[in-house]
Amino acid sequence: MEFKARDYRAEEEIHSLTRVSVSSHPLCSSSSSSSSHTQDHVSVEFFDPLRGLSTEIMEPVEDVVVAEKHPASQPTSHLSTKEWTSFNKLLMQRFPVPKMISVSALSSKTIKGKKVIGELPAKTQLDELNDSEKSTEKGFKIVSQQDYIKRLHELKDEIMRSWRSDDRATSLKLSIKVAMLLMDTCVAQFYPTLFVLATDIMDMLGDMVWVRIREKAEFADDGTKICTLSDDFEANSVCLEAKETCNNWFRKIASIHELLPRIYLELAIFPCWRFLRNDVIDNLMRMVMMIRGIADPLASAYCRFFLIHCAQKLPQRDAGHLVTCISDQKILLRQIVSMKETKYGNFLGDHKLLISLMEPTIEYTMRCIFKDPNQVADMIVRLELGKSPSELHGKVPWISIILHYLLKELPTEVVCSNALEILHLVDCSSDFSFDQYLNYKMVGLKLCEGIDQLNTVDAVIDEVIQAATKRKILDEYLKILDAYMDIILHYNMDRSLSSILSEIFERLCNEVVTEDELASLQSIVVKLVTHFDDMKYVFDLNYFVDILDVMHGSSRSIVCMHILTNATRNDRIDDLTIVKLLFDVAQSLHDNVDFSNTRQDDNQQAERLVARFVDKVDHGMELDRHLTFLVECRGAFSSMNDLKEILVHSSNLLAIRALREKKNNLNFIKSCITFNEVTIPCIPSYARQLILYLETAEVSLFGGLISHSDGLLDSALCCLQNVYLVDGLRKSNEDADGIVSLTRKLCSFMLLVPGNLEQGAMYIPKSILSLLDSQSWITPKLRIRILCSLLSLSATFAQNEFPYHAIHEEVIGNDRLFLGDATYSQELRSLSRVILDNMVDIIPQEPSQVTRGKLALEACNCITSFYKVNDEISSICSKLMETAISCLGGGDKYLQSTINFVHKHQLGENDY
């Protein structure tokens, strides 16, 4: 059996395509029409799952919900209904509700009350009054939250059911009971949820009454249509009978003794006033005033909240009620904040809880006040905030929580044009209802929104720094300044910046820094870092590095990551001091990252950033220094495995650069290779080691360091042997395929490597061959592939001249080294014999029939291409063919083309 002799040069000439020079790069993106067409096409086809949902599915669902709630009834603006619904959802989530709620005895009666409709005893008011008196004696009861909510849903159903069965009196009675529940504020955190559920019932009742009266107005008793009321109908177009019914509803509700339920029910049917009169604003104002009679701050706040909601159903857009609501709220809050230990409602001493429960109502009111951008000027005057939007009063104290939401809703232009006055306002509005520093922060954020409209920057920042400096608590100091950082940076206020940094450092030195403070500090430092393009400038700032040193934990890591991100944005980092500082930053990042942590994302990001930094560092022609740097990196970032690969690549690159630069630097290249020899074994994955060993072996061969390359190849072989043992879990085909292709790469590399005389020229192919037998994970399919490449390698070794050679002149290929050496040829022949036998033996071991057939064809193709045709080869080939036919059937295309190929070779050799 003999390999075919090949003339590679001739083959290349025959097979290579004729080359034509072109003017432009085929992959270069150009604004050609074809590419824009593709983009269009993509945008049509592209399906964004989120957006798709929101436009096609989410919206209709929302509509259905709303439509159910308002069955073609009141002309409320759709938007405000939605806003109300979503606000309510938030409200329910905002306060964690304990499982058990303590409720007043009166409420507990309703909750545990009889569930049979109609059995509700019609008591006189006197009796009820006495009843409530009696039950207060018994004190509070405990009810589970689930029961409470369940009962409310039951009540809602009962109200609906009795309404449908024309028992409207019961509906009203039950609704009053529901409204009564809102008198009970000792449920504390549950109150917002209770409010949402109860007002849902109120709204339902209101809608039902509205629809009923409207029907009375539009249809006669016998169902004939009298008229159609437009959305903005006038009261005089409503017939007397409808008015009578409407009046009766208001009378019924007016006869409720207790103030709070009376207000809630009148508000529920408030839009019905429109059937009676055109101007209902007076009535609305009366309702606002009536709410003043509710002394419990929580109950009254939510009652106002409901009033604002109900007022939105009116076509008139008057804001008088909003302004009065806020001013009443202000008076009430002023009383709360001025008292220390007074019992307020059910919130003995716990003012903070009380205010946090009231907070959403204030937020909503303010939002409504500044909803209409055209009304802003008017509102500023009516809230007594100033004479006009450009002229605010600065010295009138507000309740800080109200001020907070006022600032939040105030248009940015107004805040920016009155920045100083507003700062004064914040300065003089200090009470426990809301932390003052958060108001400073809010102003800062607002000013940042309109950063370019600011005209009194210096005065504003001076004011802020003064106010902040007064803060004893570091966190507050930092939080205020954090909000103004963007302004300071935007206007390049270096003096302020340096004074702030020195103040921060001084304070940091004097106290133990808490987590919160670290977070605030982090925010400030990150702003600094991201603002400047040049890290050098940041590092040069006074105290910056000192402050960085004080930071620790995750905040420090985050800051470090930002610094690295920012620094690696530039093409190269060549300033030695910067490299040193960044190296320290990277090292502290490395030291802070807990690599045993399961949060892989963070670690990976940190690792990527450090890798990018190492990659960007450039020492120019000072290759030695760079290698030293790599050594330092290896020492400093020992936990980052991916980085080690980068280091190996860098060092290889360094070696190549050194090779290209000048001739007499063998020692440097050797140190690079040695660096790699030391570094690679630290990488845990054998597969990755294998890649790196091969790469380094190539580089060392490139530099003519044969002994190094031999050593590296040995290590690579070791890796190959261990790869499956240690990397254990790699079962996927992809990984196995990867290793097979690495093995093939090794084979092709073998052509360059001069055969080792001590171990024998065929040492490595032999090792691979024996490896195949020892490794159980290599499936017959993979084995055939490797065997094919080994056969191909043997066939090439048999040639008189190899297709390629090593560049380095001292490295001589086997073709020249063993030219005419009989032992070499003998060894080669016996090796190829073993390979061939192996092939034939292995194919039947493949379990899958189809694969087996294909493997047979593959082997057959391979053998036919490399061997000269003789009887033995022919018989092997025909055997393989038979296997293929039996497995695939005669009609298979691959089989057909293989038959043709084999046939062609048998007819005339060398006919390619």
């Binding site: 008011q125 006197l126 009054l129 006495n130 008196e133 009696k134 207060t136 004696e137 008198m183 009978e241 009578e244 208001f250 009378r251 007016a254 006869s255 003794h257 207790e258 103030l259 709070l260 009376r262 009366r286 005033m289 009536m290 003043r292 009679g293 509710i294 002394a295 419990d296 009443d328 008076i331 009430l332 009383q335 409602g345």
Partner: protein
């Protein structure tokens, strides 16, 4: 087999000089013959005196003889037949056709005095059959002619409630700490309009528990030589719940309940008047000790101010 009266107005309210119109509706499974269909209008003042307020003798009497306002019967149909199914028969009665009827007082449902107008239909069917009948109450409001022009000038009265204005004894802490509640309220008010006013807690050492507006009726009946007067609560309306902010005016807004109120009237044998009382209850431990109590009783933790209230009608 039923008969029913349906009045022309859904609110069943008529003035004496207006015809009372409506339909008699019969629903019959088979046709019947009858001896005439009559409607009767019956209006009367019913009086009763309860024991305790007037004295021993009257309590035996109990119900006094009612005072008739009107009683008239008209024949809607002479004897004949009504066919099976639903039959509607319109009718019209003039309430006040001059002279001999008494004064048409407005409908009023009080505690001791009740002024009521009933419309009665009778389908007489001879001895063997029970006659078919139905009754419906209708409401009478004063004739427009006698009413004053609208708007009547609202008579606002200012009031002050302090520890010194109280005629009953107060708790020591109330007496010493002092309080001042001021405001104004209508004392002449249209029956159809709400009773309005304003109230401000100006000062109070003891926290306020509740402020209520009591609407009271004062019913007086002549019994022989004596006048039996009883005051009872028509409606209470809370306007402040808890210790409200001081110096913040609260609105007084009380809708007058229909039928339970009427224009103030002074007839010979009886009179109906109204009063409004502002009741301020202060927070006290004692409050819970009281089990069942008359809200009008002068309790030591309650301050109040009573004002007469004249209810009127206008055009």
């Amino acid at each position: 087999m039923s008969v029913e009266i349906k009045l022309s107005r859904s609110n069943r309210t008529y003035r004496p000089n207006e015809p009372l119109q409506g339909k008699i509706i019969t629903r019959l499974p088979c046709s019947i013959s009858h001896r005439g269909i009559h409607v009767t209008v019956n209006g009367s003042v019913n009086l009763q005196v309860r024991g305790g307020s007037a004295g021993f003798i009257e309590s035996i009497y109990g119900v006094l003889k009612p005072i008739r306002i009107v009683k008239k019967t008209i024949q809607v149909h002479p004897s004949g037949k009504i066919s099976a199914g639903t039959t509607e028969m319109p009718f019209s009665v003039v309430l006040n056709d001059g002279g001999k009827e008494g004064k048409f007082y407005e409908t009023f449902h009080g505690e001791n005095i009740s002024i009521q107008y009933l419309l009665h239909v009778d389908v007489v069917r001879g001895y063997l059959h029970k006659s078919l009948s139905a009754t419906v109450e209708f409401i009478v409001e004063s004739e427009l002619v006698v009413l004053p022009e609208k708007p009547i000038s609202p008579e606002m009265v200012f009031f002050y409630i302090t520890q010194d204005t109280q005629r009953h004894s107060l708790l020591p802490q109330l007496k010493s700490g002092g309080f001042k509640i001021s405001g104004r309220i209508c004392t002449q008010c249209l029956v159809s309009d709400p009773l309005v006013g304003e109230l401000t807690v100006e000062a109070s050492a003891v926290p306020v528990y509740s402020i209520d507006i009591h609407l009271l009726r004062v019913e007086s009946i002549m019994v022989g030589e004596n006048i039996a007067t009883e005051t009872s609560i028509v409606q209470t309306t809370q306007i402040a719940d808890g210790d409200v902010c001081h110096s913040l005016p609260l609105p007084i807004y009380v809708m007058l309940p229909r039928l339970l109120t009427c224009p103030t009237m002074f007839a010979g044998p009886f009179s109906v008047e109204f009063k409004v009382t502002i009741v301020v209850t202060f927070q006290t431990e004692l409050y819970n000790m009281q089990t069942k109590s008359d809200p009008r009783a002068f309790r030591k933790w309650v301050a109040m101010e009573s004002l007469p209230l004249e209810l009127v009608h206008s055009k």
